[in-house]
Symmetry: C2
Subunit: 147 residues, 2 copies
DNA sequence: TCTAAAATTGTATTCATTTCAAAATTAAAA
DNA sequence: TTTTAATTTTGAAATGAATACAATTTTAGA
């Protein structure tokens, strides 16, 4: 279980002021490993925070992902999904039920026979960063995870 | 160079009737390896085919990608990008200029020092297919690239 | 040529996300 | 504690990529 203090610490660690709303979003993502959309998070938190606005959810998710406290997934072509687990791992999206699963650490296309839970039809690998031309001017403005 | 006959052959190979519009879209993607959006393709083809409709571009891109003749990329959070190169390869998106590059075949995070053209800040790996529950009912309806 | 099926077109709509300015909250200064 | 400035939140309006849909056009077969 994550205490409010743990969550505050996590936010401060990424230079995010821990407001009530930000703590709620961070906590939701830490406790719900379902890769939810902004709207799912809004619907879940709205009853407990009746004044909550959708814009705040979008603002918060943008801030948290830009600061590296969470990860934004573009695996679903309709909505952006969010993941509170920032340890590097790969994802699987079911084309029928649209659920997003975390794949086991040792999963590769070569050994996928061992993981018969997933029938894989496609794989996409996306790297992001700065190209040669844009590198010089932009590096300073970005927090870089040089993994 | 790709002749119209080459392009027709490619479409037929994926069970797509080679209409004028479909040939134009397929040809554009084969000759422009810039990972364009639907709208870029529309703007490029529209002068030569004045009656062309945006809907046709969307319909065609959907058909071609569903049939496996092209690949739809969700590397850009705003628009879907399309790639006529269906040989497995990975992509890089510059966060500043938004250009999408093909990465060299031998590129990995381990040897990325060799490829100093790209300063990488993040990597996403997305698998798609059918989960255990949905597997039984759906496999027959899908063309599966069992790579 | 006639007819049916398939493909294309254009308009209207949807819906996730963004913009923006006002209101509320927080933090800092006096 | 008051005052003031900066930050955050809020909700209404706007944006824009993509889809739905019905009408029109084209294609293919009888």
């Amino acid at each position: 279980m994550n205490t409010i203090l743990d969550i505050q610490k996590r936010l401060l660690q990424y230079n995010i002021k821990p407001s009530l709303q930000r703590i709620a979003v961070m906590q939701y993502l830490m406790e719900n490993k379902t890769h939810p959309t902004a709207d799912i998070i809004y619907a879940a938190l709205s009853p407990a925070i009746p004044t909550l606005s959708r814009t705040t959810i979008y603002n918060t998710l943008k801030l948290l992902s830009e600061q590296g406290a969470i990860i934004a997934l573009n695996i679903d072509e309709k909505n952006v999904r969010y993941d509170g687990d920032i340890v590097a791992h790969t994802h699987f999206r079911c084309k029928k039920c649209s659920r997003i699963y975390d794949l086991p650490k040792n999963f590769t296309l070569e050994n996928k026979q061992q993981f018969l839970d997933f029938y894989i039809t496609e794989c996409q690998v996306y790297y992001k960063g700065y190209c040669k031309e844009c590198k010089k001017t932009s590096i300073n403005n970005e927090i870089i995870n040089n993994f």
